[in-house]
């Protein structure tokens, strides 16, 4: 059976070149980067090379990059690290309603400790509004954390504009106000320049850009003070204790370099195929709607609602035909709650609209998309045929 992987927002295939870059650090240069002998120094050099590669991708300085275990740890360190270091200056944090769980749960944790939290609405289009940020900012605010691109619907948030707002307040004397963005779903898909965005902290991870799982980075602007959340040795300039995983770090470095060099062509490729997929789905399947703003979003992600059917039925049926996608519908992922992202953009709680996310990669081919387009309509039709809601709707139309 044909196999088509369209769940690249969940994780991507590691590039052959990335694997190759990692391999020597398993069996040849296996020293501890803290050691002063040549094995250790080789490992250290590999880490510093990777730091330079990641810094270049983000237009940062290498010393501003902290390597850690991935997006979740990066979000945790950014949010809790700022909160711990600056809580004497204020205890208010602003975030959005549809952040990644790593951000939301970190903020919830701080709220339980007495911090005040503002969760900004994202409206039907799935975009934070600047006026809401402006209205939420107080003298007590020490952190604004809003993602750069949403993981389910791909919408891009106005981080540069929020950055300008934060800079304005900082210039007016609120020196302890910081801006963090989780850019996990944006890096490698759109240009991400920490200076242009005006962020103090930025999270990203390797496995969304064809790097390995288990390694990520946090950009911490020079001069920004954070409190380490991991205690031990003096690794990563005292910001993240623990022996560095040299092979994984070599992997994130290579993946970052390839993302930088090939970003434009990858983005064009993904956008073309995504637009083709969307147009075909809308043309061939009735009662379908798209989620999220159509313009302000990353290439490669399409998110649909299919009326009258439940998302997991669609997802598993596609899986039986060899196609991997994801759903945010109620009943998926072991919960009976629909995804907080879909709720945040105003979709109803019930299973009346099955949602599917198709996320493409640089490796996706036109033939793969054609296979999806050939396969999906029959699945939707089959599930609609057995759905009692389909009949109701038709009857309502007839009335």
């Amino acid at each position: 059976m044909r196999r088509v992987y369209l769940d690249n927002s969940a994780s991507t295939r590691v590039d052959d070149e990335v694997v190759e870059a990692m391999l020597p650090y398993f069996t040849e240069q296996y020293g501890n980067a803290s050691s002063t002998h040549q094995w250790g120094q080789h490992a250290k050099q590999a880490i510093e090379d990777a730091r330079a590669q990641v810094a270049r991708l983000l237009n940062a300085q290498p010393t501003e990059i902290v390597f850690l275990s991935g997006g979740t740890e990066s979000d945790n360190l950014a949010i809790k690290g700022i909160a711990a270091a600056h809580c004497s200056r204020g205890r208010h944090i602003i975030t959005s309603a549809f952040e990644h769980p790593a951000v939301l749960a970190s903020c919830d944790q701080l709220e339980a400790q007495g911090f005040t939290l503002t969760r900004l609405p994202v409206y039907r289009e799935g975009i934070v509004r600047l006026k809401d940020v402006r209205a939420a900012l107080t003298d007590e605010t020490i952190l604004v954390t809003v993602m750069l691109a949403n993981n389910e619907i791909g919408t891009i948030q106005p981080i540069a504009e929020i950055g300008a707002l934060v800079a304005e307040r900082r210039a007016a004397g609120q020196r302890h106000l910081h801006l963090h963005t989780d850019a996990v779903q944006a890096v490698g898909k759109i240009p991400v320049d920490v200076k242009q965005l005006g962020v103090d902290l930025l999270t990203f991870t390797a496995h969304k850009i064809h790097g390995p799982k288990g390694v990520g980075a946090l950009y911490v602007r020079r001069g920004v003070r954070i409190t380490s959340q991991m205690h031990g040795g003096r690794h990563e300039r005292d910001r993240r204790a623990g022996t560095e995983s040299v092979p994984l770090i070599a992997g994130i470095g290579k993946a970052a370099e390839l993302a930088r060099v090939h970003m434009d062509e990858r983005a064009v490729h993904m956008r073309q195929l995504r637009d083709y997929l969307e147009a075909q789905i809308i043309e061939r399947i009735p009662d379908v709607s798209r989620n999220g703003d159509a313009e302000q979003r990353v290439p490669g992600v399409a998110n649909f609602n299919f009326d009258f059917v439940e998302g997991e039925g669609l997802q598993i049926s596609l899986d039986l035909k060899g196609i991997a996608v994801s759903t945010g519908s109620a009943c998926s992922s072991g919960s009976t709650e629909p995804s907080h992202v879909l709720l945040a953009i105003g979709l109803p709680r019930d299973s009346g609209h099955g949602s599917l996310r198709f996320s493409l990669s640089k490796d996706t081919t036109r033939e793969e998309i054609d296979y999806v387009i050939e396969t999906l309509p029959a699945i939707v039709e089959k599930l609609r045929k057995i759905s009692p809601r389909t009949k109701k709707k038709t009857a309502e139309h007839a009335e």
Binding site: E310, A330, C331, S351, K385, S387, P388
Partner: protein, 122 residues
């Protein structure tokens, strides 16, 4: 995640669709996730001779309804009333724990349909 039997019923649901000449129809809904199930029965000589379903819900809901329509064919309404959610779960091999409520939904729809059978047909 799902058993081969669940997947087979999702792929090819048995007895799916509304039944025009049903003598009774039952309905059940899960207020939490919004899953909706309709069950149709045809009775002849005191036995269930045909059953069909319509479902909107996750794969186990569809599979539970599908497998249940096969299980009740040939039973008297009284025998059918004795079926429990665990019987449906067993017929599907297994379900993730948090999906076992799908079989409760199927049995609820069945009992609702059984209750709607005209008294003279029981």
């Amino acid at each position: 995640m799902y058993s081969p039997t669940v997947l087979a019923h999702l792929d090819q649901p048995r007895n799916a669709g509304a039944m025009e000449d049903a003598v009774s129809r039952g309905e059940a809904t899960n207020p939490v996730c919004g899953d909706l199930l309709h069950l149709y029965l045809k009775i002849d000589a005191g036995r269930i001779v045909a059953a069909s379903f319509q479902a909107q819900g996750c794969p186990p809901t569809i599979a539970a309804a599908s497998v249940l329509t096969g299980m009740i064919e040939g039973l008297t309404p009284a025998q059918a009333r004795n079926l429990a959610p665990a019987d449906v779960t067993r017929a599907l091999e297994y379900l993730p724990r948090n999906k076992e409520h799908c079989c409760v939904l199927a049995i609820d729809a069945l009992r609702s349909a059984l209750a709607a059978i005209p008294i003279e047909m029981v």
